[in-house]
């Protein structure tokens, strides 16, 4: 079967077409053939743009390509969570598969925790496939394809990229390379940890802003890791990241997996960052998104953007328009002198990317990002620009 992939890309992006089930099947088969040749850990060169969760927000993905450049003009590493939540998961994953087939060397697709049969049955992708195609076949083709996605990326032997985070049983990159990834995501073990784990500020001491809201319990064998309140994976702190980077001769970990109000978040003195690429998440969170542009000199630029303008998107029926309860803005204002500090020298003499002007520091002079990320930031209203609104996540229950 000859396929005009470029024509299919414009069918999807311009005519917003849903491709036939037979075509989807063929595309997935071809994509598996490409992915099966790739190792669990893929090594890529800079410059490259790293993208976090997009969660089926197709129109915002198109906006992302307008802002960051489309393949092959820009090299991309996608960190997973392509589907679920948004209303256009099918279109989103279809487009990414097409780009992967068109430019296999310039596009890397990493597996997220949502690229799983069990998770997509809970969070929307399965239902969307049945709604759009009348059956589960398309869902089966895509979830079979997900088994082939790579687990991690290393950029220029410097930056480790993964969807979730670190694992207490993974000390070296080589250990990731030898696992059998071609299967449904397991519930525990190294693969589960890589896609489910989260960094935790000030781990392991209790933090009012921790996801579980309580003192995490450290794992007996490796106290720098604690079980995650998500039910899979671990929480980990600065020490775990520092050790992993040192053992593997790397300088930075970039991951996604957690909502960031400002689109990104830097932690642990710039040892780790979170990139989130779904603006106004679920069409109501009012957050910004970003992509991480790694330059040829390994400089980091977090390119922040808001949701695609209303007049350019097809709003899903029955859902509130953009803005959410925080209102949304476009890119934050930037002064002329962007970098406050000169580039720091990280581990092993590698250059650590310069800090941007909107980074703020906590009491220990640790960069914590421009603002606390995620919904829990509103627990202390006074921290959040005094915006009106009741404090506390629980108040959402009353709205």
């Amino acid at each position: 079967m000859h396929l005009d992939l470029k024509r299919l890309v414009s069918d999807v992006t311009e005519r917003k077409q849903l491709l036939d089930e037979d075509l989807i099947k063929e595309l997935c088969e071809r994509c598996k053939e490409v992915l099966v040749e790739e190792g669990n850990v893929r090594h890529v060169a800079a410059p490259v743009t790293i993208v976090g969760d997009v969660h089926g927000q197709f129109y915002d993905v198109l906006e992302l390509f307008r802002i960051g450049g489309a393949p092959p003009d820009t090299n991309y590493v996608f960190l997973g969570d392509y589907v679920d939540r948004g209303y256009y998961s099918v279109e989103t994953i279809t487009l990414l598969v097409l780009y992967k087939l068109l430019h296999p060397q310039r596009v890397t697709l990493v597996r997220g925790n949502h690229e799983s049969r069990a998770v997509t049955q809970t969070y929307g992708f399965y239902a969307e496939c049945v709604r759009k195609y009348g059956g589960a076949a398309v869902w089966q083709h895509f979830t079979d394809l997900f088994d082939y996605l790579v687990l991690a990326v290393v950029v220029e032997n410097t930056v480790f990229c993964v969807h979730g985070g670190l694992s207490p049983v993974v000390h070296t990159i080589d250990q990731i390379s030898v696992v059998d990834r071609f299967r449904e995501l397991p519930h525990e073990g190294p693969i589960a940890d890589l896609v489910w784990s989260d960094p935790m500020e000030n781990y392991p001491t209790a933090s009012a802003h921790s996801p579980g809201g309580s003192d995490p319990i450290s794992a007996m064998e490796r106290p720098e890791f604690g079980l995650s309140p998500r039910g899979a994976g671990y929480l980990f702190g600065k020490e775990a990241v520092r050790k992993f980077l040192e053992v593997n001769g790397l300088a930075h970990v970039t991951r996604a997996h957690q909502l960031c109000q400002e689109g990104y978040r830097i932690m642990y003195g710039n040892l780790l960052s979170t990139v989130w690429s779904a603006p106004n998440y679920c069409y109501r969170c009012g957050n910004l998104a970003s992509v991480l542009e790694v330059g040829p000199d390994l400089g980091f630029h977090y390119n922040v953007f808001g949701p695609c303008p209303e007049n350019e998107r097809e709003a899903p029926v029955g859902v509130g328009s953009g803005g959410g309860r925080f209102g949304f803005r476009t890119t934050p204002s930037v002064d002329d002198d962007e970098a406050l500090l000169p580039p720091a020298t990280g581990l092993n003499g590698k250059i650590v990317p310069p800090l941007r002007r909107w980074d703020v520091f906590d009491d220990d002079d640790e960069v914590v990002g421009p603002r606390k990320s995620g919904k829990r930031a509103i627990e202390n209203d006074d921290e959040y620009d005094g915006r009106a609104g009741k404090g506390g996540v629980v108040d959402e229950y009353f709205s």
């Binding site: 809970t122 969070y123 579980g212 319990i217 604690g226 998500r230 009353f398």
Partner: protein
Amino acid sequence: MDSHSHPGLSSKTSWWTEPVGSLVKGQKVTTVDSETTIEAATVQLAKADVSSAPIFDQNQNQYVGSLDWADVAAYLLIVLKKGQPPNLSENGSLEIQELIQRAHSFQPVPARLAADLSSRNPLWNVTPDSTIVDVLGAFSKGIHRVCVMGPSGLEGVLSQSALAQYLYRNSEQFAELKPVLSKTLAELGLGKQGNVVSVEESTTVVEAIKLMVESKVSAVPIIGKSGRILGNVSQSDIRYVILNRKVPLLYTSVLQFAHFLDQQLGMMTGQDRMPVFELPSTSTLALTVAKLSAVKCHRIWVVDHGRVAGVVSFTDVLRALAAAVPQNSM
């Protein structure tokens, strides 16, 4: 029995002789006034993110009972005329009859009438000097929490989960615990009940609540046609129905309800969680405590080869730890 009266024993304090007062020191306890309506009390429980609250009667100047989600579930069924509370005999206690009358005539129901409506949540008092071994007996029988009553009143509430976590965190110090914590659930014979009370995908939420109240369980797994576990409904999920006043949720299928809750929670916290919390029977008791604490659940399904083999709860955990106390110390 402490080590001072038995010179042959080690002078180190054993874990089971620790006074419980030290475990609840500095605790801020959520309590409910006995005249608060059940709806308002539910909101209090949810806001404080606790599973229960002692009910304080200002007239009697004492605690008259405890309210937890099992009680709220039983109350909900009465309001919906879906069932009688389990302990209602022919005469029925005065309070429960009053509750039923008020609920059916839509009068506000004070929390005191719903205290231990489920018969699974009696108020259980201990003193600060009571030791861990004293409360282990109650915990092993399924009492979820005890009130530590000091000279000046309620000092704190010690729950099964808090005790289990305390023992886990300090297992380095309490060497006798390490062997039992290192055993697997299979070795301990836990989580292999076989037929746990469960529901199908299409069961409605209110039917599931009725089943839980009647079977005296806090949660049920949702088992799909293939026999796989697809999700979970707990009595504490009721808080979302009551708080949001989304009564139609009660009549949706349990699977849709579970999905809805997961989606809402994921959006609010900015991070999604696993659709099902489970452990294989090869998990150690230590891992079980850690996982139960991490996901803030009272019980977890034991799943082997994709099938639910059984359930393990903090009651089972503490019963296993109680077995590690030397016989002459009990």
